[in-house]
């Protein structure tokens, strides 16, 4: 095949779609190659859509994008075996358009996004796997697919092929994924009638609730759980470091089953019917795990580049932003007539450094390490905090001062006074 493109985008998730859309919109000749039957057929996410990142690509996306509910309430729960302590932020402000966050169902949302990419003029080819990158010396010049006459060439290739990025590994741009740098998340979608969801979560219309959870539900593994409300379903899931799953021998589905049986969660799912079960790897290695993201003739965006802010459960917005910025870098170089060499493509990294993407990634760069080395945050503290709450809230004739002393003793007994200060310091440093 002699056909030449300005750019080839590998993958049709949020990063790939954002890149392909931005490139095509600027009039570049773009080819996007997706392995799945259609964009979204293989893509898995919680899923929350952050409006800001998409607005910067498709400002009027709200007009026709398939959105489930806009988020008006966020709950943070720390769970013990039997109990739950936490906080809620709910604001009527979140119910004033334009809404900031939405729950979405990715198979529908991605298909919508993919249609926008086609309409913008990109050539989108699905059910096609890119096997290798064509190199001219050190420079990427094209891709080889699994189809007959399967080679195709371009000035630049954007790798948006997801967390596993087999291509980047094969080409030596990235090492093997380390089990401590990825979380394995499993989730289920449970059907519930709209009215039941509204009643159960105290919402109406398209309002939605997001619950993030930590504590005993991960059985000492580094990870979190979540529950999101969709229009006519509830998504529930849990994710922990792959290295922890390996070490503990706990099966992910068993962890989810046990979480669903928690007395605080069970009533929220009661009467539901499970409709979907999916699993996915999430790159959670943070800033330190980010590989080289550009080189001669190539750029990397989204999960392939490990762009996930695990602390704030953000990923798709980083994917969209890196995809867009990658495209903008290519567009600018094209306009200036510059070649797609590493020194020129370095503008991509520079632009990301100045954006929230790298700033956030950098801010939490030590969190994975601190969490990995300090399991008390997933074991002792959830127990201590809920015990403290129970002690204080149980009215049994014991005076409050005695109760407080008992709580203090429980804490120092478990972690020692020095340990408590050290833990606080570690957290402050990691999240500072």
């Amino acid at each position: 095949m002699s056909e030449h493109f300005d750019a080839i985008v590998v993958g049709a998730g949020p990063a790939g779609n954002s890149a392909a859309y931005t490139l095509a919109k600027a009039g570049l000749k773009v080819l996007q190659i997706e392995r799945g039957e259609y964009s979204g057929s293989k893509n898995v996410q919680g899923a929350i859509l952050y409006s800001d990142a998409l607005e910067k690509i498709i400002p009027d996306f709200r007009e026709d994008a398939p959105l489930e509910r806009h988020v008006i309430e966020q709950r943070m729960w720390v769970l013990d075996d039997e109990s739950c302590i936490g906080g809620t932020y709910r604001s009527a402000d979140f119910s004033k358009p334009p809404y900031n966050r939405y729950t979405i169902i990715r198979s529908q949302f991605d298909r919508w996004f993919s249609k926008k990419v086609r309409d913008a003029g990109a050539l989108v080819v699905c059910e096609t796997t890119v096997l290798d990158l064509h190199m001219d010396g050190r420079c990427v010049v094209g891709v080889r697919t699994d189809r007959e006459n399967g080679s195709v060439y371009a000035d630049v290739v954007i790798l948006a092929d997801g967390v596993n990025s087999v291509l980047a590994r094969k080409a030596g741009f990235r090492g093997e994924l380390k089990p401590k740098d990825v979380a394995l998340a499993v989730k289920e979608i449970h059907f519930l009638p709209e009215q039941t969801i509204e009643d159960r979560f105290n919402i109406k219309g398209t309002e939605g609730v997001v619950i993030e959870m930590a504590g005993k539900i991960t059985q000492g593994m580094v990870g979190t759980g979540f529950l999101y409300t969709n229009k006519e379903s509830v998504t529930i899931g849990v994710g922990c470091l792959l290295s922890d799953f390996k070490k503990s021998g706990i099966a992910p589905y068993a962890l989810l089953e046990q979480m669903k049986a928690h007395p605080t969660i069970k009533p929220l799912l009661a009467g539901g019917e499970m409709k979907e079960y999916t699993a996915h790897l999430i790159p959670e290695g943070g800033y330190n795990a980010i590989p080289a993201i550009y080189g001669d003739g190539w750029l990397m965006a989204g999960d392939a580049g490990m762009f996930v802010n695990a602390v704030h459960r953000e990923g798709s917005n980083l994917a969209m932003t890196t995809g867009r910025v990658a495209a903008e870098t290519v567009i600018a170089l094209k306009a200036q007539g510059k070649p797609m060499t590493a020194p020129h493509l370095a503008a991509y990294r520079k632009a990301l450094n100045h954006s929230f993407v790298m700033k956030d990634m950098k801010k939490y760069k030590d969190v994975p390490e601190v969490m990995d080395k300090n399991r008390q945050f997933f074991t002792d503290y959830p127990r201590l905090v809920s015990q403290a709450a129970r002690t204080l809230l149980t009215v049994d004739g014991v005076d409050k001062k005695t109760k407080e002393r008992a709580i203090r003793k429980a804490f120092t007994g478990a972690r020692s006074t020095f340990g408590l200060f050290a833990d606080a310091f570690k957290l402050w440093r990691a999240f500072e």
């Binding site: 095949m1 039957e37 057929s41 080819v125 096609t128 080679s151 059907f191 009638p193």
Partner: protein, 287 residues
């Protein structure tokens, strides 16, 4: 030679869900696929084209989203693709569908005469197997259903010989062209399109016809108006309460396990047990 292939976009029945409250089929979020039987029809048409040369036209009636199904047909090698789409077609049963499709086929025939029409044996959503025969009847074509093999095609003599699966055997049938053939699953194995074909499929302009383009004169014969079939109720079958049972080994030998299993099977079906060995009375279940 000109072959027309009828394809339909259907919800992937493996992923279909019934709304627990309203009992209606939830189409939202269920991926649409090309009716699997139609892909065998398409591949068979493409194989004849490979052998005898000529053209293959894919025809699909459905909503605008059905474009995806036609693009797939183009990728596999169809030369043309026609999407028959009109709000007036909504709610069509097999009678109205075959009416609209035969009008469109007649219209295609006017510009390039058709020798063969191919279709899958049935669709996986309706499962009626009526539309193919309906078209043949309306167009006064020879009809060959449940075809498991195309033995020969003689374009000069205008004859086709096929194997048709029927109850208790295979019929070898010869008929004259033009004919409508509905094919069985497994008649062939679908090809894998080349990247060049994928590009062509994406870029090929689709022919989109509404009812006027297809020269449908009688609007009362299409869509809901032209459909005497009425769906009175849709319901999910009540799940049967059969449970799997695990037979514990307790460290026993395989032969003991087998004996326990056979005894259990016999006890649930004493009639079978009796037929096999009349001496096994219900009271003497153990082997």
């Amino acid at each position: 030679m000109h072959i027309l292939v009828c394809i339909k976009q259907v919800p992937d029945s493996a992923q279909i869900r019934v709304h627990p409250v309203t009992n209606t089929i939830m189409r939202q979020g269920v991926p649409a696929i090309v009716n699997p039987y139609d892909l065998y029809a398409l591949e068979e048409a493409l194989r004849l084209k490979d052998r005898y040369r000529g053209r293959v036209t894919a025809l699909c009636m459905g909503p605008p989203q059905a474009e995806v199904a036609l693009r797939k047909a183009l990728a596999f090698g169809a030369d043309e693709a026609i999407l028959l789409t009109d709000r007036a077609f909504a709610g069509a049963d097999t009678l109205a569908t075959s009416y609209a499709l035969s009008a469109a086929i007649r219209q295609v025939h006017r510009s390039l005469p058709i020798d063969l029409v191919f279709a899958g044996k049935q669709t996986i959503d309706g499962d009626t197997a009526q539309v193919g025969p309906g078209i043949a009847t309306r167009l006064d074509m020879q009809l060959l259903t449940y075809v498991s093999k195309i033995v020969s095609l003689d374009l000069a003599a205008r004859e086709i010989v096929v194997h048709r699966r029927s109850e208790g055997g295979v019929q070898v049938l010869k008929t004259r062209l033009p004919a409508l053939v509905t094919v069985l699953e497994g008649i062939n194995e679908m090809r894998f399109a080349s990247l060049t074909d994928m590009f062509r499929a994406e870029r090929h302009p689709l022919t989109i016809w509404n009812k006027d383009d297809a020269r449908i004169e009688d609007a009362t014969k299409v869509g809901l108006k032209g459909s005497p079939t009425a769906v009175s109720k849709v319901f999910a079958p009540t799940p049967t309460n059969r449970r799997a049972e695990i037979i514990e080994t307790h460290g026993g030998q395989p032969i003991d396990l087998a004996a326990t299993l056979v005894a259990k099977l016999f006890s649930s079906r004493p009639d079978v047990a009796f037929a096999i060995n009349p001496s096994l009375t219900p009271d003497r279940r153990s082997l």
